[in-house]
């Protein structure tokens, strides 16, 4: 029995990720917290998030969570979701450019309105809805997740295909990285807590994941 810390920095719908984790980790305690001590004690950490990156980073700084996250993410299972994926990268183009946590190398970009879908129509931005993911590596978090599985996405910025640690590919006007990983860090652009049974399977894989910490 462990505890899973969900980082609360005051943004968006955190209720659903807590409920989904409770659903798949019935023997663990789920702690919604902005206290670094809770992160230190937790067996797993989740950085959720919707909204904009500047507010996100500003809140993490205000709550003195940047340093604890940087220290702990390479040491225990850490899951970034949606904006949480964008935050683990080095830099985002959103809000005129924002420095992020830089746990994984890469730069977050805005979908270009000139991009076209399969039918030759301009893509709609934001990218909202159910799209398919194709794992690009074999990984415990993909257990039971088939190539082409549908997950729910809602975002306007994306991690390009050439970022460090690409773990899955999704196509929307172009091929982008819908999941990344490096050591104990895993990050997904989709919302597993909103992706029905497929999403719950993914979260179940995460709470049962015991990766080897990165040597520093």
């Amino acid at each position: 029995m462990g505890s899973i810390a969900v980082i609360d920095y005051g943004m968006g719908n955190l209720f659903s990720i807590v409920k989904a984790l409770e659903h798949v980790a019935v023997n663990d305690s789920i702690v919604l917290t902005s206290d670094a001590d809770d992160l230190e004690r937790a067996s797993h950490i989740v950085l959720p998030g919707v909204g904009a990156i500047r507010e996100c980073m500003a809140e993490l700084k205000r709550l003195d969570l940047v340093k604890p996250i940087r220290e702990l993410a390479p040491r225990k299972p850490f899951l970034g979701i949606c904006l949480g994926l964008q935050a683990v990268l080095g830099f985002s183009d959103e809000n005129d450019g924002v420095e992020a946590l830089n746990l994984i190398k890469g730069r977050v970009r805005l979908f270009d309105q000139a991009l076209q879908d399969e039918a030759g129509e301009p893509i709609r931005i934001p990218h909202i809805g159910w799209n398919q993911i194709y794992p690009t590596i074999s990984h415990p978090l993909w257990n039971g997740i088939n190539p082409g599985a549908y997950f729910y996405f809602v975002h306007s910025y994306y991690a390009p295909d050439n970022v460090e640690g690409r773990a899955a590919s999704t196509v929307y006007g172009l091929d982008f990285s819908s999941a990344l990983t490096k050591g104990t860090i895993f990050a997904v652009q989709f919302h597993p807590e909103k992706s029905h049974t497929t999403g719950l399977k993914f979260l179940s894989n995460f709470v049962h994941w015991n990766p080897v910490p990165q040597s520093s």
Partner: protein
Amino acid sequence: MTLAKRIIPCLDVDGGRVVKGVRFQNLVDAGDPVEVARAYDDKGADELVFLDITASSDNRESVADLIQAVASEVFIPLTVGGGVRSGADVRRLLHAGADKIAVNTAALTSPDLINEASYLFGSQCIVVAIDARRVPGSTDDAPKWEVYTHGGRKNTGRDVEDWAREAVARGAGELLVTSMDRDGTKSGFDLRLLQNLHQHVAVPVIASGGVGSLEHLAEGIIEGHADAVLAASIFHFGTFTIREAKEYLVNRGVPVRLEP
């Protein structure tokens, strides 16, 4: 490898119950919201929209409670609208487990709400709902629509295309467009309305109002270019299941999510 078109049952909520009326009138009880939501979740709905059609200030807390109850058991996207007046309303509903908030009347009376909410919470969670009615006498050659508020009772005189552009410029991440002429009639979407908006805005459009058959859903997507289709009565009263709707769309070449 493509984004699926969404099928979204719409749950009009009045006093904690799901209801459905014809042109926002003659409301009929259609069930307990949590039970209805769970049933749709099991059958493969891509998302659920809850519209609080009473929208009076005294029961807004009850809508947050209702969303919290649904979000505890249903792990698909939830959109909530009706009576949302302020950034504080948006925050409360997001914290209760809603993923997107639909604003209608308040977006027109105080459009800065769209800017404020999209800045604080992100454009992706701000849906502007537009109730559109054809201007009497406007023909299919040069159709015109005006925006209505207050549950379709009040004509604002605003041109729909003009308002849609402004809403998107202010930060709306999605438009939920209801044809008041078609709502509850089962005669199909106002396809010209959808085509018109598709040409003039770059965000996803959810089509609403008029679905009476599965072919209507296909038309909305194929001819109307809608990214998602909303329907209530054909699903609530068991005329068709979500699964039947999706299989029909697959046969028409529309990409949909058939799992689970």
